[in-house]
């Protein structure tokens, strides 16, 4: 009996974990190329869900059209944030001073601005859900039960990851983006417009979070505070050492599974604290993350 329960927990965990992995990926690609931890990452997820709600419920469009449209809209918002704000903060930065503080403050400000904006609309007064992506009919995989929607979420999340991976691996633009995050100076030398690449990365990361938001929205509740899901992505990113992309994906899935198993075997109250304990434990024992490799030495 316990065996089935564990299997069930792992299966449900894989579904939510794949979405956490998407959000964590968006944090990591931003961090790799700009050294900024995006505290507004959760609000991009929330924006994605609300923009999707607008198109799905008010305009009655199908998911197949809504997902790309949401991705495009939130892409523009993310890119604009980098262009209009972060770019200027960087430009003002005096060498030798830590830029991190200013950047984190800017993203915290953005997160509050987004939450505040959404709260101004009356839709946000009540917690809502999005219509199911797929039917919620149960599917039996051996002894494990998932809904068809769960499977759709998992498949879409994996597809997005594969798409992203191919983009970074096989296209010229993707390789230029990777070069920018590996070494901005060398990238400038070979003629890559580093500033534009950074803006692009912000856009892609925002779009990624927004798609994740559309995917979790039928499962989580849509509210201005749903950006709190970011803490799970932080934990996933820390498992991956904030640099190792595969490690981050594994981290996301592991967190989804942990969350489900804690809910099944410990208590539903303890779910909320699981990611924090993961973060604190990992940072204490292996600050470079489980997959981070040796701690990088920072040059002065």
């Amino acid at each position: 009996m316990t065996g089935t329960l564990i299997l069930q927990g792992v299966a449900s965990g894989l579904v939510t974990g794949s979405v956490y992995a998407l959000i964590a990926l968006s944090l990591v690609i931003v961090f790799k190329s700009t050294e900024v931890i995006n505290f507004a990452g959760g609000e991009f997820v929330m924006l994605g869900a609300y923009v999707a709600m607008f198109f799905l419920v008010l305009l009655g469009l199908p998911y197949i059209i809504v997902v790309p449209v949401v991705a495009l809209i939130v892409f523009c918002i993310g890119a604009a944030f980098d262009r209009v704000i972060l770019d200027r903060v960087l430009g003002r930065h005096r060498p030798g001073q830590s830029i991190m503080v200013a950047m984190v403050i800017a993203t915290v400000g953005l997160s509050f601005a987004f939450k505040g904006t959404v709260r101004l609309f009356r839709v946000s007064d009540n917690v809502r859900t999005l219509p199911p992506i797929f039917s919620t009919d149960p599917v039996f995989l051996g002894q494990v039960v998932l809904s068809r929607q769960d499977i759709a979420i998992f498949v879409i999340a994996v597809a997005v990851m594969v798409l992203l991976f191919s983009f970074f691996q096989f296209t010229k633009l993707g390789r230029a983006l990777r070069a920018t995050s590996e070494n901005p100076r060398a990238a400038t030398l070979v003629g890559i417009p580093v500033r534009r690449m950074r803006t692009l990365i912000w856009g892609i990361a925002a779009a990624l979070s927004a798609v994740a938001g559309v995917l979790v929205a039928p499962k989580l509740l849509v509210s201005p505070d749903m950006g709190g899901v970011i803490i799970l992505a932080f934990a996933a990113a820390i498992i991956g050492g904030f640099t190792n992309v595969l490690g981050v994906i594994v981290g996301g899935v592991v967190l989804g599974v942990i969350e489900n198993l804690v809910g099944l075997f410990v208590s539903s109250k303890a779910i909320a604290i699981a990611p924090f304990i993961v973060i604190i434990l990992i940072l204490m024992v292996r600050p470079q993350g489980l997959f981070g490799g040796a701690a990088p030495i920072k040059k002065v």
Partner: protein, 327 residues
Amino acid sequence: MAAIDRRWWIGGAGLVVVAAGLYLGAPIYVLYVANLLMTYAVLAIGLDVLLGRAGQFAFAHIAFYGIGIYTTALITNNTSLPVFVGIIAGGLLAGLVGIVIAIPATRLRDVYLALATFAFAEAAQWVFNNWDSVTKGPNGLRISSAKLFGYTITNDREAFFLVLFITLLVVAATAFIARSKLGRAMSAIGDSEHVAMASGVGVQRVKVTAFAISAIYAGVAGGMFTLYQSFIHPDSLGFDLIVLILTMVVVGGVGSMPGVILGVLLLGLMPEVLRNLREWQELIYGLILILAVLFMPRGIWGLITDRRQARQARNPAARPAPVEDAP
């Protein structure tokens, strides 16, 4: 030197007049706001010790504030000890927890420090919410009136001078620390850890000390809160409060005490002014943070001191040429 001394005297006299005026004439609600602002000031000064002077970005401040509130409240509720025992205990316990957190956390790179302390703050809020037998969890904890030398402090007016006294103590202690060897070591770390280390500053030890001082301040602020409040709920100890305090520090001026106090006054009074725009508050705070980072990296105080320096250097030739930033 004489000019500085005179400024101190004028400032001190002004403070006495304002304090006496508030105590004697102000309605009780104004005194409540004054008490609250002073509590925020102690919180903000504590955050600035860590952020502005030692350059360490940490989000754990509200957790220490909560520890201070609950410790003092529990001592007040369950014993008849004078309230300063509770406040000192709250400060010390917060400082102790701060040291325990700081020893591993300050070894981390700056971004991870922010994340680790963020996780700790959320975990602490979870504990306040779920440790029912001690904190009464989501029902909130009633705080009985503080007792001091046979008196019972029952309202904001009676608490006012005690809160003011603690605030002044904290301000004086911070000014003293800033001038001490420790304060200079902290600024050195804030400027550049590598240079500080090469100059023989015990970086790790100083960071832990800064963390502990910051936590003690937050714990004491928690004790101050119990003097004039009769109820605490874990929901009020969330991320929103740390963002409010952070906004005060950033808008006022990171790394300067007059700036921080200015920030506390401006942003602390804002909810009173914008009372009818409650639903706009979150958006406004967010925009203020972004605009502050964009247009005044050293806060309002930075703008003021820049202008003063410009006035002193009337002769343009005496001014150093602006340094062009490398791209």
